[in-house]
Subunit: 333 residues, 2 copies
């Protein structure tokens, strides 16, 4: 039985969801992957807990539920993620970076990821900041250190588009991408096409837990743009950054919005995010509510289309877990 | 640079397409996978060629173009695939079984695959016969011998549904599948809904090269059923065979066939293939021509939907190539 020691940074929807999933799937993971996942460390905004023997999953959830993980019995402390990485890097195999996305500086997640990669640790993340802002340097750093950087959870929720692009389509030539990658906007546009106002629809999306911590990231199109940058930087040798994306959000949209979707697209070197009318009866027209969808046009495989849930703590945690187990299955640990 | 030695059985659309793809992508494969693919053996219905130093890709295509590979200069012979496996098993790493599907006995591909797995060789195949008829025993045989059995090309053409089910979704629980997995039938139904007769539409599908060697496999629903058996046997502990599938083809379909698709479905232990009306504006309604599509309903990830080309020698060859390189990338060779 292989043992994989995880250091989890972030215990919000995704981190908490991951701990719950690991608990409910423990037997399955052992049976299907001959692997035992052990959480040796966990961090939130106030502090952390670390034990090289492993923390108890129930105790993590219980402690977090009452406040901060820093109160974890015996092993809790006020140390932050970087301090724990410095002190305990010999005691974990995979950094699981699932803290909140920061699209301005990518910090502090960027430092967590860089430090871990430099120390020869695999990294799995759902944090779009470092991947959207520093894709090229992080991929090179991972390669140089012979480790894997997994970020399936950064784009399009449960749709496994990252591994399809990096793995299955690696030899094909991607000619264009059209994508609906922000479930909140798709939900709001659907409501608006039923005659509900933008403000009411946004409020409903927030109440249902769909929106980002800062919903401006959704409705301005910034979240979609970050995902588009990631998609571009996987498939193109011409790396781009957020400022290369023409962005129009859905905030000031008026008039008839039936069959309007917020489309992120790459074609002929142009990257843009804008509301577009899609054809009635088309694939995109069938993508409703918080669903995400991606159309990839390639030279050999031709058009490939995918849709699935774009948000949700449990769904995102599943994508994170799948990345962790892919590393194990490829005999990297 | 890793070297992977391939023994290719079958030089039809898929085998020939694979040789061409390997040639055009040679540099890319070396660059992205640090891997050199070398075809050491190739087989067609009349004979074979084998050289442990490797055959020349252009010469394979040229020789085959003029008749049989048995006429390959110096290394050609009348030996069949089994004889070559017995004689040369120490000289190849991966059996590439891309001969014509036989849904009655799965032979001779079944013997090729079994023999190779028993000798500790990886196997990649587009041949539905062995996978549909002997899934469980072949998977066990591969596992026992510590090798990989890849069969992405068996179901839904270029849509990477096999690796999604075996890899990404391995820990999730698949609750139901609906699929359009026969491009010929989808093409014919589309033509029929425009008022063209079944016979004329079938003839057009044959002229365009979409139909199976024996088009009865398409229109009776048998080809879809074989793919459904494979999908079931990946996701369910309850293994089924072709006789467990309720099959209705499209041959005797009359009346208004607008929005009618040949749907292969798994739900609550029921496996069936039958023409069904799909809802206007739905995902399946947008799947036209020879496209394939799959809807997977799972417990954690929720609904996932995929569409892409279901047929074509080059496309199928790409799926085969991707399986070969996945084995290389996972450090199995």
């Amino acid at each position: 039985m292989r043992e994989v020691k995880l250091f989890i940074v972030g215990l919000g929807n995704v981190g908490g969801g991951l701990v719950k999933l690991m608990k409910s799937l423990e037997k399955e993971i052992e049976r299907k992957y001959s692997t035992k996942l052990r959480v040796v460390g966990a961090v939130d905004i106030e502090g952390s807990a670390f034990s090289k023997e492993g923390l108890d999953l129930d105790e993590i959830l219980k402690t977090k539920n009452k406040g901060s993980i820093k109160n974890y019995p015996k092993f809790g402390s006020a140390k932050n993620a970087l301090e724990q990485i410095e002190e305990n890097w010999k005691n974990f195999d995979v950094l699981v970076e699932v803290s909140t996305t920061n699209l301005e500086t990518a910090q502090p997640a960027l430092d967590h990821i860089r430090n871990s990669l430099e120390k020869g640790k695999h990294v799995v993340t759902s944090n779009k900041g470092p991947i959207a802002l520093h894709y090229d340097s992080l991929i090179k750093l991972a390669k140089k250190n012979g480790v894997i950087l997994g970020f399936e959870a950064c784009v399009a929720g449960v749709i496994p588009v990252i591994r399809i692009l990096r793995g299955y389509l690696a030899l094909d030539k991607v000619q264009g991408i059209n994508a609906i990658v922000n479930g909140t906007c798709n939900f709001i546009l659907g409501k608006m096409s039923e005659g509900i106002s933008f403000e009411k629809a946004l409020k409903e999306a927030q109440e249902k837990g769909y929106a980002e911590a800062d919903p401006a990231l959704d409705v301005t199109g910034m979240d979609s743009a970050a995902k588009l940058v990631i998609l571009n930087n996987i498939v193109s040798s011409r790396q781009i950054s957020l400022k290369d994306v023409k962005i129009n959000g859905i905030k000031n949209l008026g008039g008839d919005v039936r069959n309007t979707k917020l489309i992120a697209s790459l074609r002929n070197g142009d990257a843009k995010v804008q509301p577009e009318k899609v054809q009635e009866g088309s694939f995109f027209a069938s993508v409703n509510g918080v669903l995400n969808a991606i159309e990839i046009e390639t030279e050999i495989a031709g058009p490939l289309k995918f849709s699935g849930r774009g948000a949700g703590g449990r769904e995102t945690a599943y994508a994170v877990l799948a990345d962790i187990l892919k590393i194990a299955a490829e005999n990297r640990i």
